[in-house]
């Protein structure tokens, strides 16, 4: 099962749109693509779009935690939206909700990042 990764920059916020399944098999390529994009653009405000992610296990938690550690030293923030029920359970179980803002949708994630969604 492949994972498709697309990036989108909205002001100073990097959106990581994921589609497919996040497991150990795709962890390395996700880590690499995410780091390349984030460091390439020097953009450390990240929004993860899980709307089209059907599955994620602890390997995905590892990748997110790894990026979090790189972002905190650079005044970055991470928000997420679109998680299904099981992924959300894993997310809370791992304590990620304490360091990553769980939002309901793209607009809420953007406004958490301080981007004025109504001005557009």
């Amino acid at each position: 099962m492949a994972l498709h990764i697309n990036f989108q920059l909205i002001e100073d916020v990097l959106f990581v749109h994921l589609e497919g399944e996040v497991d150990h098999h795709v962890a390395d390529s996700l880590r690499k693509a995410w780091r390349d994009e984030m460091f390439g653009r020097s953009c450390f405000n990240i929004v993860l779009d899980f709307t089209h992610v059907q599955f994620m296990d602890s390997s995905g938690i590892g990748v997110i935690l790894g990026r979090y550690k790189e972002i905190i030293g650079r005044d970055g923030l991470i928000a997420v939206y679109g998680m299904n029920e099981t992924i959300q359970t894993i997310f809370y179980m791992a304590g990620l909700s304490k360091i990553i803002k769980v939002t309901d949708n793209k607009e809420e994630a953007l406004s958490f990042m301080g981007v004025d969604v109504h001005a557009k």
């Binding site: 098999h25 962890a27 390997s59 791992a94």
Partner: protein, 147 residues
């Protein structure tokens, strides 16, 4: 009626999705809820990933075996086995956030997830012999529209 399945596959990360999908297909005959299926897929993925990374150190020439049983009481019993390096401090390995491979960005949440999503988790392991993870889960019995 009791039903059983055994399958073995190469210790390759490509097979993680094959393993969890295969178990999910087998479990489908119990008419599980979507959430139950997702949770079962997750625990299979955790145990298989552990076997590949920790049991076999990613040696693709080795095999992982999964034994699935649906008991007469419609309980699911899963055994995920490897013949890898094994471990001698099982209790420590099962603690939340423990990982022997922090450099690989492993979260150390595998066993915690297995324990949360299953009713019963048992780990048998012997150094240089291998590891066997036994998982049990009673599924909700929703009456199907068609049988």
């Amino acid at each position: 009626m009791r039903n059983e399945m055994i399958f073995s596959f190469s210790s390759k990360s490509e097979n993680e999705s094959f393993a969890r999908t295969t178990v999910a297909s087998f479990v489908s005959q119990l008419n599980p809820t979507l959430e139950e299926l997702m949770e079962i897929k997750t625990v299979v993925s955790e145990a298989v990933t552990n076997a590949i990374i920790h049991g076999y150190h990613e040696d693709a020439s080795k095999f992982i075996t999964i034994h699935c049983v649906i008991t007469a009481h419609k309980e699911l019993e899963l055994t995920i086995e490897d013949e890898g390096v094994g471990m001698d401090h099982i209790d420590r390995m099962m603690e939340p956030l423990f990982t022997s491979k922090p450099s690989l960005e492993r979260s150390g949440m595998g066993f915690t997830i297995m324990e949360s999503f299953m009713d019963h988790v048992e780990v048998f392991s012997e150094v240089n012999i291998g590891t066997s993870v036994k998982l049990r889960r009673k599924l909700s019995l929703v009456k199907p529209v068609f049988q």
